[in-house]
């Protein structure tokens, strides 16, 4: 019980825990979860968010270190743009491979994750290494490259606001725009949408692939700009894979991604507190967290099954 109390306190127990631990951890998961959710909605199985995050972080860091003298209102958007652009290019490689040669994106994006990881470890030992050339990391960014904090005394940064806006835009776009409708159609049935709906399937999936990559790259920029202020090798402990769970738990709904990203952020923050304050071994914490995620999944599944039973299968699917 001590352990569970520590879990709760670490995630929601104080304003610091919520704003500076839970939401800071939720920020990359929000952007990455959106990246995965959008792609999956269009039937693009992009599991390369991890690699797209890495190249986004590299590009944003390169910008931050190259133009350190630029004013902050210019440099921060530039970093975000560079991160998103790099992520889109990285995803674009897999998108081109799929469109031109029919390479399954599950394989290509996964492979590109390894390439991106190798690229990151080369960059922090080569072109972006700190000046003493001892440690595998970049120098710390100048203050002009630090993303602004949203609240005084808290570590919550601009990246979270960007993520929130992106989620709402994505939701509106999917639900109320023609392009969003095309994405949903392609995801539901590519052949039918092409023959009956007149949708250019290849073009739609290509576009979604790039947007998905851009969101993941933006997550990388937001991590280095908002949290670490430097580029490191171990930047992401598999955030890109956790994001798949975030997106699936949200049933690929951008609004739901907000909630599930906060849930995973809270679990992560609470798990740390359990180790710190209740002396629970880290492996046991991982087991408990996995158990909670499974329980939440089972509960949401059960609810939709009940709803389906009440209203009939067609309603529930829509």
């Amino acid at each position: 019980m001590d352990a569970l109390a520590a879990l709760w306190d670490g995630a929601f127990g104080s304003s610091y825990a919520f704003w500076s631990a839970t939401l800071v951890r939720a920020t990359p998961l929000l952007l990455l979860g959106l990246s995965v959710a959008l792609a999956f909605r269009a039937g693009v199985l992009n599991i390369g968010a991890e690699g797209q995050l890495a190249v986004g972080a590299i590009a944003a860091s390169a910008v931050a270190l190259t133009w350190a003298g630029a004013p902050r209102p210019l440099l921060v958007p530039l970093m975000a743009g560079a991160g998103a652009g790099a992520g889109a290019v990285w995803a674009g490689i897999a998108a081109v491979l799929r469109r031109r040669f029919g390479v399954l994106e599950v394989i290509s994006t996964l492979m590109l994750n390894f390439v991106a990881a190798a690229l990151l470890s080369w960059v922090v030992r080569g072109p972006l290494q700190e000046p003493t050339h001892i440690y595998p990391q970049s120098p710390t960014f100048a203050a002009t490259a630090h993303w602004p904090f949203l609240l005084p005394g808290q570590r919550l940064h601009l990246g979270f606001a960007v993520g929130l806006i992106a989620a709402l835009v994505a939701w509106h776009w999917l639900a109320h725009r023609a392009a969003g409708l095309r994405v949903r159609l392609v995801g539901a049935g590519p052949r039918a949408s092409a023959s009956a709906g007149g949708v250019d399937v290849a073009r739609t999936t290509f576009g979604v692939f790039l947007v998905s990559g851009a969101l993941a790259g933006l997550a990388g920029a937001s991590e280095v700009g908002g949290v670490t202020w430097a580029l490191y090798e171990g930047l992401s402990p598999g955030l890109g894979y956790t994001a798949i769970a975030v997106a699936l738990l949200a049933r690929l709904d951008p609004r739901g991604v907000i909630a599930s990203a906060v849930l995973f952020g809270a679990l992560d923050a609470g798990a740390a507190a359990m180790q710190r304050d209740a002396g629970v071994p880290s492996v046991a914490v991982q087991v408990l967290v996995a158990g909670i995620v499974l329980a939440v999944l089972a509960m949401t599944q059960l609810r939709t099954a009940r709803a389906a039973a009440r209203t009939g299968p067609d309603e529930a699917a829509a």
């Binding site: 631990a21 595998p136 402990p237 740390a272 180790q275 002396g279 880290s282």
Partner: protein
Amino acid sequence: MSLLNKTLLGLINPIIARRVVLFHSIALLALGCGRPAAESATKSEFRVALLTPGPISDQAWNAAAYRGLERIRDSLGAEISHIQTKTPAEFEENFRQYGAKGYALVIGHGFEFQEAAQRVGPEYPRTVFVTTGGEGTGPNIAALSFAFDEPSYLAGMAAAAVSKSGVLGEIAGTELPPVQASFAAFAAGARSVRPDATVLTAYIGNWDDAGAGKEQALAQIARRADVIFQNADAAGLGVFQAVREHPGTWIVGSNADQNALAPQSALGSVVIDLPHAFLLVARDVKAGTFQPRVVRFDIATDVVRWVPNPATAGVPAAVQARIDSTRARFARHEFTVPAGRP
């Protein structure tokens, strides 16, 4: 095809590893049930926290640090807390949390914690932040520096003496500066005994994939390496396994005394006595006499040591005498590891 195979292996290996961890943790959970009550009963003013970059079950770098934390608890009556952290963002956040809770001493176990210490330190002046490795200091920030290259040099001398093929292997997790320095010293020590020695170096890419560690070891054995110096923490356990399966091959352990992991094949271990070092620092912090600085531990302090495996006395007497005299010269600061090719 082989690339695909490797990926699939890469996907499956962590799953297997996680299974093992899962089993382990259930056992730990059962064992840990009665503990929190006992800890709150012995509440103490002097609180010490440890952040490790990897699991404390690695029987190496992180395990030794946790033993150090336990020794601080047992010897100084400190209340202790430990957390395993992965990313720089987590380093900083946890430093902050411990600082806010008024811990007297917070140890980040690796050079990679020094940035976080620099950022958080000024906000919590009553907490002493110490990083194991690195050289960042401040009014309440110190770094422990270990001359791990000195005993590595001695290990290289011993390795060259017992090697039949003249090919030595080195396997580590990733290319970290202290590891590279230690490997260069091992190679230099080996060449001081056997100038024509060939040294193979491999980096696994992480510190926890025992399967990949074993694969690297088998590859080096296939290239006729008959002594392997491993410094890969949990992944190094795979190197041990490969060596145990190939009699006639020797292994040199790292960080903790790992000789018991392969009683028949261990030549010795290059040891950092972390518990001793931690205790020395914690004692000063508790007494209020700690001077924040780079605290250097070399062979003279006996915190870093070359510990031969008594069960396998394979080093010829003439070389052993040279090892002993080199050790003595290190201790008197008359000799430093020569800079050379790795």
